[in-house]
Symmetry: C2
DNA sequence: AAGCTTACCGACAACTTGTCGGTAAGCTTA
DNA sequence: TAAGCTTACCGACAAGTTGTCGGTAAGCTT
């Protein structure tokens, strides 16, 4: 007897397995055969739900980034916290590690997953830049920041944090702290914030 | 009669055609068959010179980045020019457009070439960061800059310029100028340079 | 001229992605 | 309850991909 599920159920099942396999072997090396074998469905079933392998990737990227962006948005919108906390919180919320796929994000940075990485980055950046730049504008008015180019400032901060914090493996604790401090210092300068004003905000978030 | 060439000659011939094809169709969509057909060699010949398709990509990345880095290095080393000119010149020298492959760099940013793009970026960054950070240290001593983290500052500047200046297609002249000015402003701030000190240096380079 | 190195050849195995006609489960509708 | 329609599911298949391997021939050295 053949097992029938709703389209949404099956789609998510496929995405779950795809997520595993892309993490294990990378997008290029994980074949659609691997996916259908692990689920136990036929070739036609997979292509009934997704038009191509790349469409699976896109859906996966969509699913992965949606949550991260939503979390970031929630932090930014919560005006009960000070502005600096909302800024740092919004950026930290993008570190999807604590979310759903832990082991995925270790493999994501391997060259084999360049496509996945690229698409996720593009989505994350375009989704979060407006949030951050709005926050910067708000900071300009209250006098916490002094930024002439809020959009580009947000873009620069996000792009760097996305790329530079990729290859953290193999760094000593010391180097890690150094890199973190450098990042904070540069963000302060880009935004025209007072020196040392950002560090406590980050501690507030991390200890929450 | 079979045409025989030296290994180096043939390898470069393969890389030339690979460069064309990757630009036309992207790395994923350009097959090794496309390459050998266009050159007029047999399958075994290609695999005699390169162990895999990815090895071709790596060699191509190597060949493309070598020149860019060398150019950058030459600019940095030339102490006959003022420091600021050397900094801006070194960054601009990385825009490989004017070099060998013009049409390649339009297609490089398409998702299909994510791997190529990623590998090039990694090589460019790791090759040029030391040059720029050394320049920043030099500027610290002469008082032109005031940077606490020269390495990370160089990294941030290079990563941003590499990513953000990817998707320039579709921007108006106005938006382009705005983005350029924002970049200059942020670099000045990151390096602790005087406001407006960088702009003339860029003009010096471009009008050279 | 013999022999060795190495560039070159093309058939072939193993695997990919995506297609398509057909099957069956679960709905409506009568 | 039976007929009919929608849609999830199946698996053989076409077309194409990468990488292998035994064999050929060009250009060396000796």
């Amino acid at each position: 007897m053949r097992i029938v599920k709703t389209a949404e159920e099956r789609k998510n099942e496929i995405l779950d397995v795809a997520e595993q396999l892309f993490a294990e072997k990378g997008f290029d090396n994980a074949s659609t055969n691997d996916i259908i074998k692990r689920i136990g469905i036929a070739r036609g079933t997979l292509y009934h739900h997704f038009g191509s392998k790349e469409e699976i990737l896109d859906a996966l990227v969509e699913r992965m980034t949606r949550d991260a962006i939503a979390r970031s948005k929630a932090v930014v919108s919560d005006r009960s916290h000070p502005l600096l906390d909302r800024l740092t919180g919004a950026i930290i919320a993008l570190d999807i590690n604590d979310g759903a796929g832990p082991e995925v994000f270790e493999q994501i940075h391997k060259p084999q997953n360049a496509l996945l990485h690229h698409k996720m980055q593009e989505r994350l950046i375009s989704g979060v830049v407006p949030l951050i730049s709005e926050l910067i504008r708000e900071g300009n008015e209250t006098g916490v920041f002094d930024s002439k180019y809020p959009d580009e400032a947000a873009e620069m901060i996000l792009i760097y944090s996305n790329i530079a914090f990729d290859a953290l493996a193999g760094l000593t604790e010391e180097e890690l702290v150094h890199k973190g401090q450098a990042f904070i210092c540069h963000v302060e300068r880009i935004l025209g914030a007072e020196e040392g004003s950002l560090a406590p905000a980050i501690m507030n978030i991390l200890n929450r």
